[in-house]
Every structure is written in C-alpha cells, then in structure tokens.
C-alpha cells in the first residue's frame, strides 16, 4: 500500500542517504579519476571515521556530545588521511599503482584496517549519543532532526570539495593529472605528490561521512561493507572518475534505493542496484578504461 506519508518518508530517507552517499562516493570517484585505481578499502575509511567519532563523543571530552562531534569532524579526517598517506607511501607507490595489484593490495588493506579495529576497539556495535537530538513531526510519522542536519552538512562538505577542486592550485593539479598524467608531469605537476594527496583526500571524505552517520548507526568494525558497495555502484553508474556523474548517480541511486527500500524491500533494492552496475559495464566495458569528461 503506497500512501502519501510513505512516499514522503521514502523521499526523505532517500535524500539523506543520497547526500551521505555522494560524499563517500566522491572520494572513491576522485581516486579513480585521478589515479586510475580502485580502492577496495574505501568503506573501511568510513568505518574508521565512525570509530574516531565514537572515541571523541564521550570519553575524550566528557562534555556535551555536540562538542565531541565537532572535534571528531576535525580529527577524524586528519587521522584517516594520515593512514591513507601511509598506505600510499608504503604500498601503492611501490607497486606503481598497477590497477590489478592495487585492487589486491587495497583488499589486504581492508582486512588489516577492519581486523586492526576489531583488535583495539572490540567487536561490539557501540552507540553514540546524538550531538543534537530533536524530532520533526510530519503528517503520519516523525523523523529524526539530526538526519536532516546530516544531509545539510554533507551538502556543505560537497560544496567545499568542489571549491577545492575548482579554485585552488592543488585542485588544478588534480584536474590536470586526471586528464593526462604524463602531460601534467611534463608541465611540472608533481604527479606522485598529487596521487598521495588525492588518495588521502578520498579517504578524508570517506571519514567525514563516517563521522556524520556514526550518531545514527553507531560504530562497528563491520560497518564498512555497505558504504563500499553503494559508493562503488554510484561511481560506476555515474561513469568512473566522472565527478558530476558521480553526484548525479548518488542522487538517483540514493533516492531510488530509499524508494524501493521503503516501498518494497531494502534487499531487493540492493539486488537491483548491483545488477544495474553489471549491466552498465557489460554494455559499456570500455567506459572504464577511457574515462568520461569531467
């Protein structure tokens, strides 16, 4: 039975999901676009963000959860970015960003991060106190006010990333490397450094979305799988490495997923999404190698 409130709820769930998803997927897309590698450990960066948010939320400060949340927003990207830089320097650079070996290596990284968190943080799903708690009443149902704030923050962060890419020197370097790394190098772009920064930036975006969702879903060492899968889907449907396509796909898939989840079944919506990706690649197998225009 499809009613007005159900549709509205579907739209809300979808939009919030889409905003956070866009942030996660943008990181993955950036890494692919510039470095031409796929980072299987991307979801673990989201999980690390959530775990850092949990640390900051109560224990570190003992103050109001809002303060912990703001600290986490600042600290999580720094920690996760540093881990990504280390991974780039210790592993990816040494295998010359070979596409297939990078996939294997980042898959190893996935297990190392996930199991490392299990070792130090433990196996429990730990809830966080929401930094801001209020309820918004819609006709027929209520909705978490924090979720609406999350959507807004995600959009702000997306805009900030966009500015970084469009208006700064490092953004210019990234765009140049994306188009043609050899030419960029010839024009004096420090390509290796750009790679490292892009890998870190991608991880930082993932970590930020982890901080944002932590108060909703808590922090758990296995929580990286879902964001990875969904952002994978978004990045491919949007055209690998195509940032605008990624954002558009995040909106479509986030909202579509929300709709199908609410109206039918979340599992069904994920099945449809994965098959959609397979279909896109089967029809356009070359789309991956060529990479679309920005």
């Amino acid at each position: 039975m499809i009613t007005g409130p159900a549709l509205l709820l579907a739209l809300l769930e979808g939009s919030v999901g889409a905003a956070v998803l866009a942030l996660t997927a943008l990181g993955l897309s950036l890494v692919f676009g510039v470095m031409r590698v796929i980072n299987i450990a991307h979801g673990e960066f989201v999980m690390l963000g959530a775990v850092v948010a949990w640390w900051c939320s109560a224990d570190l400060l003992g103050a109001h959860p809002l303060l912990g949340f703001l600290v986490a927003l600042a600290v999580a990207p720094l920690i996760v970015g540093a881990i990504a830089l280390a991974a780039d320097w210790l592993v990816l650079r040494r295998i010359s960003y070979d596409p297939e070996r990078t996939i294997v290596a980042t898959m190893g990284l996935l297990y190392i991060i996930q199991q490392g968190v299990l070792m130090s943080y433990g196996p429990d799903a730990r809830p966080l106190d929401p930094p801001i708690y209020f309820r918004v009443q819609f006709p027929g149902f209520g909705y978490s006010g924090y979720k609406l704030i999350v959507a807004g923050l995600a959009l702000l962060l997306l805009a900030a990333t966009w500015l970084l890419l469009a208006r700064t020197r490092i953004g210019l370097y990234m765009r140049a490397t994306r188009l043609d790394s050899e030419t960029a190098q010839a024009f004096g772009v420090p390509v290796k450094r750009v790679y490292a920064i892009v890998f870190a930036l991608g991880a930082m975006l993932a970590a930020l979305s982890g901080v944002l969702i932590a108060p909703i879903r808590g922090a758990h060492y296995l929580m990286g799988a879902d964001p990875l899968l969904l952002s994978f889907i978004v990045v491919i449907v949007g055209g690998l490495g195509n940032l605008r396509g990624t954002l558009l796909a995040a909106a479509c898939i986030g909202i579509g997923e929300g709709m199908i989840s609410v109206l039918f079944s979340p599992t069904l919506s994920k099945i449809i999404a994965t098959l959609l990706v397979a279909a896109v690649l089967v029809v356009r197998p070359g789309g991956l190698a060529r990479g679309a225009t920005p």
């Binding site: 295998i95 297939e100 996939i103 190893g108 996935l110 599992t267 994965t274 089967v282």
Partner: protein
C-alpha cells in the same frame, strides 16, 4: 611425463598420510583438499587466462545450493545432489560467461563482483527457499558403493571423497594446461591482441575457461555442502571470493601445484592465528599486501626462480 609423475606422487602421498594423521589434522587436510579444488578452479581463470574475478563465491555457492536445495527439498541422495550441484554451477557459469562475454580487465572484475553480490543478496531475499542466513542443515542417507554403505559422517569417507575430487581437479588442470587449449589460455593472458591475430577467437576461449573454472569451483561447493552437511548464505559472501584469490596468489599463479600449496598455508595460518587473536583475519590482509609487494609470482614462482638462480 615427469610432471605427471610429480602430481601423481602428491596424490599418492595424500592418500598415504591418512593412515598417520592425527584426527584434528585429518579434518584439516580434508577441508584443505576441498578448498584446493576451488583454488584450482579459480586458477584456471586467474592464473592461466589472466582474468581477475572477484565473484567466484557465485560458483561455489551455486554448487553448494544446487546440492543442498535438491537434497533438502526434493530428498535427492548424495550422488544425485552432487550431480545437481555441479549442474547448477555449470548453468550459472554458462550464463555468467555469456553476460561477461566481452568484458575483460577491471570491468570483468567489477561485473563478477556485482553478480556475486546480487547472488548473495538473493540468497537472503528468497529465504523461504534458501533459509537465508541461517542456512540449511542436511542429514543425508549413506551412499551405496560396491555393496558397502558409505556414511558421509565418517571422517574416512569425507577424506577420501575430497581426495578423489582433488585428484580429478589437479590432473584435469594439469592436462588442460599442457593441451593446445591451455596453451591458448596462457597466450591470452600474455597478449590477447596477438592471440587473436594467430587465429583464435579469444572471447570464446575466455568463455570456455570461465565455464570450466566455475564448474570446478561449483564441484568444491557441492562437495563441501554434502560432506559437511550445511549450506548458508555466507557461502555466497565476498569472503568466498577473496579467499581463492589469496590461495592462488600465495601459492603461485599459473602453476598447477601453487593453489593447493597456498590453500594449505592459508588454512593453517588462519587456524594457528585464531588461537592467538580474535582478529585472525588480519593474516589475510597482511598476506595480500605482502604478496603484492614482494611475491607477485607467489611461493611456487618464487621457489622456481630461486632454483633457477641456484642451478
């Protein structure tokens, strides 16, 4: 011929050690041989043909569910259920092969990953049939063979059934590798464009390699389900796609004995480390990173090179 003698000696040794192994290792070797069938199947696609699949759980699960569902719902006996499992894996491989007919490289990797993920989610979605997460527990009647009743619960039956499957898979893959067909697969791995201009429809060969690889993986899944009496949705999860990759990479790609070696090492590494820490899967992560950094050819490849340097 010496190479066949070496492989037969491995099989004979595995037959012989069953009389000396302590019970716990007996069970471990049984599992290792079954997983090795999976690894050998994976290697035909990855090691010989050069196609990196991240979706082999699809075939393993197809075999396991083909056997498990027919045994559970239609009371198939073990032999019929094994046939159903292998048949299901063959069918799934054929369909997958047609879907990915023209895809290679990273696109192939992602498509196989997505198909396997869709299959995994489907085992959850259609849980009235598959019983989802919780899975199906089987209790099977004994198999009549030469007048004797073989109970699947008997460790010796498990061991020797796994050994037979292992021997078949190993010798088949060796023969395949050395046949004209296998030579073409290797040529595709080395340089697909060149192979095409030698007169080979490489897409068709890739398709054939996928079907053989998938069916062997399904044989492993079907036997695992029947011998250990259980199939659940975790058999279709990503872990069952990454493990054969690790086994093959660790043991050595493109070497017939590499994947079984990698399987054995991984199994014992996980088993030993699970006694030290709950985070034992970290071993898998460290191994994957170490292989890409230092042993791109795996242990067998490294050993071969080391021998060549010495001689």
């Amino acid at each position: 011929m010496r190479i066949y003698a070496l492989h037969l000696a491995v099989v004979a040794a595995l037959f012989a050690v069953q009389f000396a192994l302590p019970a716990y290792h007996y069970g471990n070797v049984t599992r290792i041989m079954l997983y090795a069938v999976f690894a050998i199947g994976y290697n035909i696609l990855f090691g010989y043909t050069g196609l990196l699949s991240l979706g082999h759980a699809l075939f393993f699960a197809a075999g396991a569910y083909g056997a498990g569902l027919t045994a559970h719902w239609w009371s198939f006996g073990p032999v019929a259920a094994l046939g159903a499992g292998v048949g299901a894996a063959l069918l799934v491989s054929l369909v997958t092969g047609l879907i990915v007919y023209r895809t290679t490289g990273v696109a192939f990797l992602i498509v196989t990953l997505m198909l396997a993920q869709a299959a995994f989610l489907s085992t959850l979605y259609f849980n009235t049939v598959t019983l989802g997460d919780q899975g199906i527990v089987l209790s099977l009647p004994p198999v009549e063979l030469f007048g004797a009743a073989l109970h699947l619960a008997d460790p010796a039956v498990k061991y020797n059934a796994s050994l037979v499957a292992f021997a078949v898979a190993l010798l088949l893959s060796l023969w395949l590798l050395r046949s004209p067909f296998g030579r073409v697969l290797i040529a595709i791995r080395e340089n697909e464009a060149r192979t095409r201009l030698l007169g080979y429809n490489t897409a068709l060969y890739r398709f054939a390699a996928l079907v053989i690889s998938g069916t062997l993986s399904g044989l492993a899944g079907a036997l695992y389900c029947l011998l250990f009496g259980y199939v659940g949705s975790s058999f279709a999860s990503l872990q069952y796609s990454t493990l054969p990759l690790l086994w093959t990479l660790l043991g050595g790609t493109g070497v017939t004995l590499g994947p079984p070696l990698g399987t054995a090492i991984t199994h014992y590494l996980i088993d030993i480390s699970s006694g030290l820490t709950s985070s034992y899967m970290i071993i898998v992560g460290v191994a994957l990173v170490a292989i890409t950094l230092w042993f791109p050819e795996g242990l067998a490849g490294w050993f071969r090179r080391w021998r060549r340097v010495r001689s």
